[in-house]
């Protein structure tokens, strides 16, 4: 059961990272040079994804 939970979490992180990369591709071109953001941790990604779903 733990493995199943772990796998679900990994899938969620993977989907969130795909969306984050897509979003950063867009933003990277618009930001001023030197203003890039660091890649988030898995937990930060999940939080970001949750906030996004709440907003949209």
């Amino acid at each position: 059961m733990y493995n199943q939970y772990n796998q679900q979490k990994l899938d969620l992180v993977r989907k969130a990272r795909e969306k984050w990369l897509e979003s950063e591709f867009f933003l990277g071109f618009l930001r001023s040079e030197g203003n890039s953001v660091p890649e988030p941790t898995d937990e930060e990604l999940l939080q970001w994804h949750q906030n996004l779903q709440r907003q949209t």
């Binding site: 979003s23 591709f25 930001r31 996004l52």
Partner: protein, 269 residues
């Protein structure tokens, strides 16, 4: 040999082709499908990204070539994807571009950066297409300066926001930088002045007009000395002329820029 166009082999992407099932989306096989997968809202609003020509290569395969681009669609694409929390506007009171960054704050960007993004999206699409897609227009023609500029120009109206977008009552927050004067000065020089042999742009005339632009945007006034400091380098870069104190016009000595003309004496908007 030039491709033969008939209505049967010219195709557009229709909104009802958008896949609404909740499984993993199929890999796109044409440029239209690629953009439709990423920007379904823009498909619904503006229609197909391209008109695509389909030509048989042999008994089993067809070659697909985008032959006409939908500027409105790509202007809409530059507005960003709501599902990713991205948003770009053309803020009409300042005639400038803003994008919503990851922290939710709107920050300034430029037309050139938007054009870079547009060209990068086309290149990304080209890089993910199968071998039967003719890439010439995606790679070259639609990424030209002329088409890029046309997309940005179209985006100015499609993504236009009025003063209420950043009003005191609005929930939209933006970064307000000290370079606001320079931004207005750039718009003044690039869009309201032109090169005109024999004409003189008088310093006083330019300064008065510029103060009107500032007032229109609820920006603070500035001294003539500060105005000269900001505008001088910009006019030099754009028209290759410096401010002169020895010009003669209307029977008297004038200070101004020779060979430059103010296009209108009426404030825009």
């Amino acid at each position: 040999m030039a491709p033969e166009f008939t209505t049967s082999n010219l195709k557009i992407f229709r909104p009802d082709q958008i896949n609404f099932n909740f499984g993993a989306p199929e890999k796109p096989t044409t440029p239209n499908e690629w953009f439709a997968q990423k920007y379904p809202e823009q498909i619904k609003k503006f229609g197909s990204p391209f008109l695509e020509l389909s030509q048989p290569l042999d008994q089993f395969r067809v070659q697909i070539m985008p032959v006409s681009i939908n500027l409105d669609f790509f202007a809409g694409v530059l507005g960003g994807r709501k599902d990713l929390g991205r948003h770009v506007i053309y803020y009409q009171p300042e005639m400038d571009w803003y994008f919503k960054d990851a922290d939710g704050i709107y920050k300034p960007t430029t037309a050139c950066k938007l054009a870079n993004l547009y060209r990068a999206l086309l290149m990304k699409c080209a890089g993910e297409m199968p071998g039967n897609i003719h890439l010439l227009n995606l790679f070259h023609e639609y990424r030209s300066e002329k088409i890029s500029k046309s997309v940005i120009l179209r985006a100015k109206s499609i993504l236009q926001a009025d003063a209420s977008f950043f009003s005191a009552e609005s929930k939209n927050q933006r970064v307000k930088g000290p370079e606001l004067f320079e931004r207005v000065a750039r718009v003044f020089v690039e869009e309201m002045l032109s090169a005109e042999p024999g004409q003189i742009l008088k310093l006083q005339e330019a300064y008065t007009f510029f103060r009107g632009l500032l007032k229109q945007r609820n920006l603070p006034d500035l001294t003539k000395a500060d105005f000269k400091c900001i505008i001088g380098p910009l006019i030099r870069d754009q028209f290759n002329v410096a401010l002169r104190n020895d010009l003669v016009g209307e029977g008297k000595e004038l200070r101004g820029w020779k060979g430059v003309k103010l296009l209108t004496r009426t404030l825009p908007g």
